[in-house]
Amino acid sequence: MRDLVFLAYLAAIFAMGFRRPFLFVLAYAYIDIVSPQRLSYYLLNSIPISLIAFMLAAGGWLLTDDKTNIRLSVRQVVILLLLAYCGWTTAHADFPLEAATKWSWVWKALIFAVFLPLTLRTRLRIEALSLTMVLCASSIIITGGIKTLLSGGGYGTLNLMVTDNAGLYEGSIISTVAICIIPLILYLSNHGTIFPPDWRTRTFGWGLCFACLLIPIGTEARTGLVCAAILAGMALMRAKRRFLYGALMAFGVIAAIPFLPASFTERMGTISSHQGDESASTRVEVWKWTWDYVKDHPQGGGFDNYLQNKLRYMTTRTVGEGSSVRVERIQVEDHGRAFHSSYFEMLGEQGFVGLSLWLLLNLLTLIRTEGLRRRYRGRVEPHLAWVSPYALAMQQGHIVYLIGSLFVGIAFQPFIFMLIALQIAASSYVGRMEKDANWSPLSRRPALQPASA
């Protein structure tokens, strides 16, 4: 039954796409984020819906879209270079089969990230993709939020509709992404034109933000808590009454502690004392192993090369009860542990070249988005007023992602590459507007006014 509903749903979106081909792009984003094939049982698994959507999106763009003034930005070129380098490391990978499996989705994510800005030519398209991404992620976040409220969740036990723990459905990844999109949700509920801001939009927006904050609690992913703290700090920096809001936030956190599950507070307590926690100790050891590995293999070992690591380290545990409690040091042996950090994931898999390209991409994204935010701050013209708040929302989300990436291996997460593509599109959009209309944002002249006037 669910299969038929999903099939009818996709058919409806595709049918609308034949009237407005840009909707094929949204359909591909939907399929990539929600993965309806994994939510259904048989029917959708037997149809290559992702491939069909991409072919339709690319075909629609090639045949019908306006392509004047089209050019690749520096960041798109960096993504293409990264793609080529990943292809080379895959061909020389330590684990060819495993590397080929990861490559099979990484190249699609990177190609789509290069393709997206070419299609996002209008302000409405940028908003439409942003909204679709938020709504698609909300299908996981709403279910996780409600289950956390009802049951408290638990590390590795919160059921997010699918059990294979991959993509956005993985606890740490959805925790980071959920916090990362909060600024975008607030932007859309305050500045959206598809769903103009009214009580319904704002109620949904605030409700979704609340659900996003519940995800780190439900999944007990410590990364999410760190991300939420960073986002709160950035929000306070921009707030006019920062002391009042800061005090309210602190009060809210203190008031919420008694309602948090005991397992959550215990797990969060290990953030500052990682030596007593096997998961955190493993990360440190994997990072040491990665550094040693790239000293011998600076070109990287290809995707999933962490499978060869063998770790041996000391950790502590508390034994006994009451007055006989004592702390013991124990030796742990482990192997094939994942990187648990996007930075080390890039370093180990793609070596110094891959890490440099990835860092350059993220750095350029931060710099360009900050540039947009500053240049268009305070603009009130309808076609410009959205630029600065949008850039701020994207920038805050990206900083949250970069902080979360310290502890989660999401260097190639397709959702994040779509967010980067949106930021590239916003820069390109403004660049085209400047060129087309010959206006200068610095001079603050009305649009289309000649420079000599």
Binding site: L26, A128, T132, C136, S138
Partner: protein
């Protein structure tokens, strides 16, 4: 039950987004900034706050 509610709500809103986009001319073609500014001055959109408020400049 919860899963179905979340799927229904999110998917319904994605579908509504697509439906609303069908009737928007500015999806495929950016309106001329001068035209848009003139239209906004004539009929300011209600309740859409810009950073400093829409249409403040003359």
């Amino acid at each position: 039950m919860i899963d179905n509610f979340a799927l229904l709500l999110s998917h319904g809103l994605v579908l509504l987004t697509c439906w609303r986009l069908l009737s928007r001319d500015d999806l495929d073609r950016e309106p001329d900034p001068a035209e848009e500014a003139a239209r906004t001055e004539a009929t300011p959109p209600e309740g859409i706050p810009g950073p400093g408020g829409w249409g403040r400049r003359g």
